[in-house]
Symmetry: C2
Subunit: 328 residues, 2 copies
Amino acid sequence: MSIRIGIIGYGNLGRGVECAIKQNDDLELVAVFTRRNPETVTVLTQSASVCNIADIEAWKDKIDVMILCGGSATDLPEQTPVYAKLFNVVDSFDTHARIPEHFANVDASAKESGHVGIISVGWDPGMFSLNRMYANAILPEGKDYTFWGKGVSQGHSDAIRRIEGVKDAKQYTIPVEAALEAARSGENPELTTRQKHTRECFVVLEEGADAAKVEHEIVTMPNYFADYDTTVHFISEEELKKNHSGIPHGGFVLRSGVTGWNKENKHVIEYGLKLDSNPEFTASVIVAYARAAYRLSKEGQSGCKTVFDIAPAYLSAKSGEELRASLL
Amino acid sequence: MSIRIGIIGYGNLGRGVECAIKQNDDLELVAVFTRRNPETVTVLTQSASVCNIADIEAWKDKIDVMILCGGSATDLPEQTPVYAKLFNVVDSFDTHARIPEHFANVDASAKESGHVGIISVGWDPGMFSLNRMYANAILPEGKDYTFWGKGVSQGHSDAIRRIEGVKDAKQYTIPVEAALEAARSGENPELTTRQKHTRECFVVLEEGADAAKVEHEIVTMPNYFADYDTTVHFISEEELKKNHSGIPHGGFVLRSGVTGWNKENKHVIEYGLKLDSNPEFTASVIVAYARAAYRLSKEGQSGCKTVFDIAPAYLSAKSGEELRASLL
């Protein structure tokens, strides 16, 4: 019998989860929950129901793992603890600074109801965190580097769109090749924010908007752009649609460290991702952890977990024997 | 109180384990066991005892985890099941084809005595296996690539040394840049053995040996060299000592795969290592898993485990709270 999966929220991430489920024979999408009128939402999986989120409690015994596909700013801090009362849950909460608080809330709720909740699943937090953690455990004396991109930053694109005179925009975060090479050298360089990444913006102006003023507002924007070398290109709406409608991303996690009685040997561990679709890759990670949530729950475990707490074999559809014979 | 570690076998790997323990405040090397006369073996850790392996049983309650640093051909298949009767054990058994059999032997012995045995720890098998497994679970439709090098292959160096007329030799395995780039492209190319790696040999001849004959024997040697493009350099003993006495290694694990309803998006996951010292890095991984073995044993677990079966957090000296706050 398949593991029955539900999705809350049918945006880019929810659709990515739906596609990832299709690639895993032991998983089945049974229902998508939305705040919209279900009749206005069409999903790709013909066998799946579309339901209003208000009716979710009726699905309590029909879904093994609920995947939450809302945003980290307002949706997940509220939803994950609430739905952990009814279901095993997985989310991709990515506000790094608020993870301890979110963990505590989900843990209390999941423990009380006897469910498993896995939070902050994806690639950062997620696979990047795992690689930082493994590398730190292996090389206790060393230095970590995380580079993002080349890829679209939704937050930075949104920040540009809020500027007066901007009709639409896409922002790419780009790692600086020289900084990457310096990190890879094993020399443990100190790298500033400006040295590590540049930002490239493609902006469509409203008619009559002042390009020079918009550009100045972008490049001087605190937190988002002021600490970076930022390039702004003004393009037509057609060009934006044609050349910048994808959601690629990726990046690199490096740790360089030393070993030996006199710390005489250097080592560099590097993990890199090159992703055509950020939400679909995030969804693929989430779906593997949904399998883990189901299995951990079947074993009688409960409470909040992160990628650090879950043995790798739980993610795979293969048995321990198969994994040892084929991938070890 | 520190976790008390013992080492069996004081070669390159054993010395690497000793150095790695020094970098971890919660671990303490208490004894090194050798088949040699202990009086002829000097270790770097002043507080550690050097003992003959025949006396190991007396240490049953004085050591929390025993690290086995022998070879995979004859030492470990025999030693790991035997010493799992007395201790929690970790080994770096690396004969991939015989892992299922070794697992079964260690599992039976460790379960009977109530110990934890972690086998095949290092980087391949080990960290490379983990990365293959995570990437396969995330991208079920895709293709795996493993490249080794640039680094010294002990097995290939030994094979050259066995040829008549050869006094000493070092063999480097080198990944072919074009093949790496093809794998990174996400186009899922089929790559032959010859396309993926070249082999470079530095050979010191005995006086009067026939260089052309030795070269021919090397490049045509079945299994070791015949399927590769191999370069042979004849050098002096001094040059070998001066330029080729290190034991660097490394390599790359890649998986490229597709996502999307119509498999329209490509993704590439890459993990790479660049190591000045193969045995010291292997030792650093082993020592992190020794910490895990101790903790799993304290929890009452027993039997054989691999890197697939162990939640990442067990490897780190940091608490769950610290890990979530700093590395997630």
